[in-house]
Symmetry: C2
Subunit: 414 residues, 2 copies
Amino acid sequence: MSETNPLQINLPRLKASLLELSNIGFNPNDKGIYRSGFTHADMEARRWLMAQAEQEGFFSEMDGAGNVWLGLGELDQPAVVVGSHLDSVPAGGIFDGSLGVMAGFEILRTVKEHNLELKHPLRVLGTAEEEGRFGGMFGVQAVVGGLTPEWILSAHDADGIYLADAMREQGLDPMAALDAAWPKEKMKAYLELHIEQGPVLDTEGIPLGVVEGISGVFKWIVHLKGKADHAGTAPMNMRSDAFMGLADFAHEIQRIIDEDGTDKSRITVGKVELKPGYPHTVPGEAIFTIVGRDMSEQVMEELAEACERTLRAIARRHRLHFEYDQVSWLGPSYCTPSIIDLMEKKAKARGWSYQRMPSGAGHDVQFFADITDAGLIFIPSVNGVSHAPDEWSHWHHVEMGANLLLDCVLEKAC
Amino acid sequence: MSETNPLQINLPRLKASLLELSNIGFNPNDKGIYRSGFTHADMEARRWLMAQAEQEGFFSEMDGAGNVWLGLGELDQPAVVVGSHLDSVPAGGIFDGSLGVMAGFEILRTVKEHNLELKHPLRVLGTAEEEGRFGGMFGVQAVVGGLTPEWILSAHDADGIYLADAMREQGLDPMAALDAAWPKEKMKAYLELHIEQGPVLDTEGIPLGVVEGISGVFKWIVHLKGKADHAGTAPMNMRSDAFMGLADFAHEIQRIIDEDGTDKSRITVGKVELKPGYPHTVPGEAIFTIVGRDMSEQVMEELAEACERTLRAIARRHRLHFEYDQVSWLGPSYCTPSIIDLMEKKAKARGWSYQRMPSGAGHDVQFFADITDAGLIFIPSVNGVSHAPDEWSHWHHVEMGANLLLDCVLEKAC
C-alpha cells in the first residue's frame, strides 16, 4: 500500500454496526443509551459483538473482568491493541466508547478482507465499566493489573448494589477479574479513537485531535463561614457574607489561571450550597467545590497554591472562616511521544489538519501508557455535547478518525 | 414633672414581666420561644397578659383579629397607642415584639402608680401574627382596616393550615377580624419600642435608634442560562458558565450601591441554585434571588435599573440568557416627622445619644403612619442577633428605651 493511496475503512459497514449496537439499551422515551456497567443491556452488547466477530471468523473471548477481546493472529508476537469501552452512562449517546471499539472491529474486517500480512497480532478490546457505575475504569484496570480483591469486594453503585453481586448476576466470578491482567511484554501498543466530548475541535473546525495526555485533576470542597444576618438590618459594611467571599474568589479564577496556569488549565466551581439560603438572609455559609486541571502536575500545584492564597485573603477581607478539604488529587498521565509523533505523521500524510490537545476527561488509554506505547485520537463532538442523547459526531469525521487509527495500527502491526 | 427629673419606668417590674411572658412557649431543648400566630402558646400569652392587666385594674380586651388591647382612660379623646406584637418566630428570642408590648404595659403601670392626669386615654396593643406564619402583619392590618374577606380565607401557613381554621380552633371567628378596624379619628398617635435586629447600634455603641421609616424592598428571582459542559473538556474561553455570570454580578453590587445607592441601600444575594450542580460540570444554569432595599423609592428604582443593566452586560459577556421575575416591590414607609422630632427632643433632654436610622425589617408601626402620627424607637441587639434563641438586649438599654417611650407617651397624652 502506498502513502498516496492508503487503505480505507468501510464507512457504511462501520456505520451500520455502530447503529446496530446503539439499539441495545436504547430508551425510546429520551432517545438515550442505557448500558451502565454489568447491566443486562451492557452484557447483551458484549455478547452481540462477540457473536458478530465469531460469525466473521475472528477470535473472541470475554475475560474475567467482563472485557471483550476480539482478535486476528496468534499471540506469538506482542499484540497491537485497539480499544475503548462498551458501557455507557445512563441516557448516553451512541459514540462515547462504542466508536473506538467498533472502529477497532472495522479495522479487523478491513485487514482481513485485504488479506494483509501482520507481523503482530491485532486485538480489539471493549472494556467493562469505564463510565463509573462502580467507580469506573474497572475493565482497563483489570487488564493493566491494577485491581485488588479489596477493590473488587468494596465497590458498589449509588443504589448500594455491590459490583461483585452485579457481576455474579451476569454469570461472572468477580475474583476472576484478577486473572484478566495482560502480560506487559505481550502488548506492542494500545491505540484508541474517541469523541472529544468537548467543544474545541468543533468550534475551531479541526477534524482530528492528537491527544497528548489526560490532564491531572484536583477536587476541593471549600467552606466559607461568616454570619447569617437579616438582609434588611445588616448594613453592607457590617456583613460577613459568605457568598460574597465565594463571588470574589470566582472573580479571581481567570487571574489565577493567567498568572499561574497555562492554556490547558481549567478551574471550575460546579456546586454551591448557601446556608441558610433564604432570599432575605445574608448567607452565613457557602460550601462549594473547586475542580482544577492541568497537563503539568507542577502547574496544578501552583494553581492550588494560588487558590488557597486567594481564598485566605478574601476570607480576611470578608471576615470569614475558611477551610477546605482536598477530596482528590490525580496527577496527569501522558500518551507515548512516539505514538503522538506517529499519529501526527499519518494525519499529515493524509493531508488532514489536526490539533495536539490534552484530554480533560479520563479515558482507558491513560492506564496503558504505563505498560506499553499508547495513544488517543479525538474526533469532534458537535457543540461539545456528550453524556446525553444529543451527543453527535459527523460521519465524515468518524471515517477520518477510523482511517487515521487504521494507518497507525498498520504501521505498528505490519 | 420637670425635664431635669423625669418620671422613670420600673425596670425590675418590667424585667420580671418580660421574663414571665418568656416562659410561655419556651422550649428547653433549644432555649427558643415558640409562639407562632394562633398557636396555643400564642393564645396563652395573650390571655396571660389580659389577666395581668385586669388584675391590676386596667381595661383589657381581645379584638376580632386576636389583638390584645389594654387600657387606661375612656375613649372620649383620641387614644395614644403603644404597641408591638406578641407572637414570635419559631425558636425566637424573648425581646422581639414582646419588649414593645411589655414596655407599654409598664408605662400603664407607671402612669397609674403616679396618678398622672391624662388628656388622652392610653391603649397598649399586642398585635396578632406579625411574624408571618400566615403571611404576617395580620393583626395590625385588621386595626388599620387593611383586611379583606378574601385575604382572611386564602391565607395559610407552610403546612397548608388555613388561617381561618387556626383562628376557629382558638375560638375566634375569622370574619370578626374585619370588625377590628380602629376609627382613624380615635387615635392620636402610635408609638413602638423594638429591638434593632441588626448590628448598627451595638457596633457603634449607641443606646437608642430613632427610626425614620421602614426601607422599601424589592425581590427578584434571576435566571441566568448558559451551557452545562464537562469541566475538563471545555476550555475556559469556550464556556457559558452561568455561575461565573452570577459571580461577576455579585462583584458589581458594591459599585452599584456606590454609584446609584445611599448608605441605607442594601443588595443581597441570599439564595442560589446551580444546575446541574455537579463538581465536574460547568454550571449551565444559575437561579438566584436579589433583594434590594432603600429608604427612597426613587433610589430603589435606580438600584433596580442598575442591577438589570449590569446583568444584561454580564449575560452578553458570558453568552448567557438572562431573565428575571420581580416577585415583589414594596415602597418605603415613613415615620411621622413630628414624632421623630419628639423622640430626638426627649432623648436629648435625657442626655442620651441616639442615631436616626432606617429599619430594614418590617414593623407594626409602618401600617400606622397612614392613619395617625407614628414613630419607632430601637434599642441595640447584641451582635445584631434576632429570630434566634441567643437574641439579647442589655437591661440598661431596655430601661433607656422604655423611659424614652414613656417620655414621648406622656408628651402626647398629658
